[in-house]
Symmetry: C2
Subunit: 343 residues, 2 copies
Amino acid sequence: MKRSVLVPLAASLLAISAASSGYEWQALPDKAVAPADNPPTAKKIELGKQLFFDPRFSSTGTVSCNSCHNLMTGGDDSRSTSMGVHGLAGPRNAPTVWNSAFHSVQFWDGRAATLEEQAKGPVVAGVEMGMNSLEDALARVRQIPGYVEQFKAVFGGDDPVNAENAAKAVGAYERTLITPGSPYDRYVKGNASALTPQQVRGMKTFDELGCTACHRGPAFNGPEMPGGKGFFISFPFHTSEYVKTYNLRDDEGRFLVTQNEADRHKFRVPTLRNIALTAPYFHNGKVKTLEEAVRVMAPSQLNKNLLDEQARDVAAFLDALTGPFPEQTMPRLPATIGYTILD
Amino acid sequence: MKRSVLVPLAASLLAISAASSGYEWQALPDKAVAPADNPPTAKKIELGKQLFFDPRFSSTGTVSCNSCHNLMTGGDDSRSTSMGVHGLAGPRNAPTVWNSAFHSVQFWDGRAATLEEQAKGPVVAGVEMGMNSLEDALARVRQIPGYVEQFKAVFGGDDPVNAENAAKAVGAYERTLITPGSPYDRYVKGNASALTPQQVRGMKTFDELGCTACHRGPAFNGPEMPGGKGFFISFPFHTSEYVKTYNLRDDEGRFLVTQNEADRHKFRVPTLRNIALTAPYFHNGKVKTLEEAVRVMAPSQLNKNLLDEQARDVAAFLDALTGPFPEQTMPRLPATIGYTILD
């Protein structure tokens, strides 16, 4: 993995003040902190990478984590809503896996507290990887000797092939999928020429409008939350013409998880890192361009309307949150010599 | 790209004689020869790699060349028959892309003379990538600035985004996907310990049975053919119990292309390189294991029946035709900044 940012971790905690509001812009840390029960090791990360790219743990053998969270792009699939096995599409837009390590909770509705918990979901989602059960997926893992060996080497024990360990490996890999060193990061660390004048204008507008009320912190996805808590906001908060145009209130959001009236239409605030690469936008993927997404947000969340120039400037600023992407070597997926585990 | 074989090309043309028949075993060349009208360059290969991995040129945005010809595995998809857009499956087993550069012609029925011609097929096949036309796919390419720039840099001209050039780029990349340096290659170059005793026995049996009549040459896919000619054989040639068990005569093979009676049930002889990684087997993928495939071949093609031990030995020998696989760095797919080209 290449990192273009060589400053020590501490530097990324330094913050600079924007002229107007005193908002403290923060660079992305060079590392994502791992939970105490899942310390990263090179072998665990490599195992997680193989699992992430392996389509054999979907019912048809055609869908891997990378199918919808494509690491060769923005960590998503460019589609409104993702398409899993048998061409079935789910109801929501695939969030990027890049920097998901910095999320308070996982999924649009925050139904998983950790990357590890998240990793177990899509395997058994009917419209995603479509396995009948995690046990069925694990039965496939056990038929692939190279996986069994690696689970033993990484986790020890007699029968370490289980969902907890698989999820730990995937989570450990995902914590390496971070993109410090964007033009924005270089700018807030003191490189005044890292942003274009338009991007600097957009950055100021972004703060002055109040976007930083929610899209704050190093990943622009909210304040640091106490362990396990998610940072949720109603979307759309205000009513505007866009609600109808883009069906923004069709999805009840976190309410579907908690059945708590206060959670109706609440969503976890998504990261804006690499947002320029993850069109189309919002939980339902109905908005096709970043500029239009910016235009939708202002009245929906801040009860403001933007001039075209403001929308363009903010979109230009958001483009400064892109990359750089650590180079990925393609894994060799453990082989089955002379047989297939599909069918 | 790493190559573990550093001997000059000439060495790979040396051949050694097996004890029994005088058959000359050949190592795989270190390079695949490019056609005169498509000389490889680093930039062309890199462009071809991006196109190979890009799912945006399928109707749903979910299927790339790599979906069915997975370079993280044996260059295929572990399925009986491949699954394209909307979960549709075609009638035939995906041939491996590894060493496809060494085929006389492309596709099971040889309907494409070159890699370049082959590359244009799956994009518009309804059960594969499902685009309505190559022009539709090219219209998508033209919406991605990073591709347009690369086509210009590689091919020159005002409007170089066309199917011929795209196919040339993909073909140039595919010619890098070769696996010289397998245990078998090392053995025929003089490393007597590169094969196990069982593999050496299997190698001898393979020749004595007559498998080398068709599975000959460096890629075990037939003799060198004059330009554009394919090497086709009837399969199954003899009738056996297996014909019915595995529906071996349901597919009329090359007859479907030529309507020539002599081509009924004829197929291009496939490479045996990396065959241990490409289960299930044959044009219809009905045979699940390599050992069973060997058992099927002997009566079907040679009118012989194998002892279990012979089948096991031959399968062990075939496993010596695996890898090594040149390391692949994941491409970054050219971005669309703030918009998607999918619906």
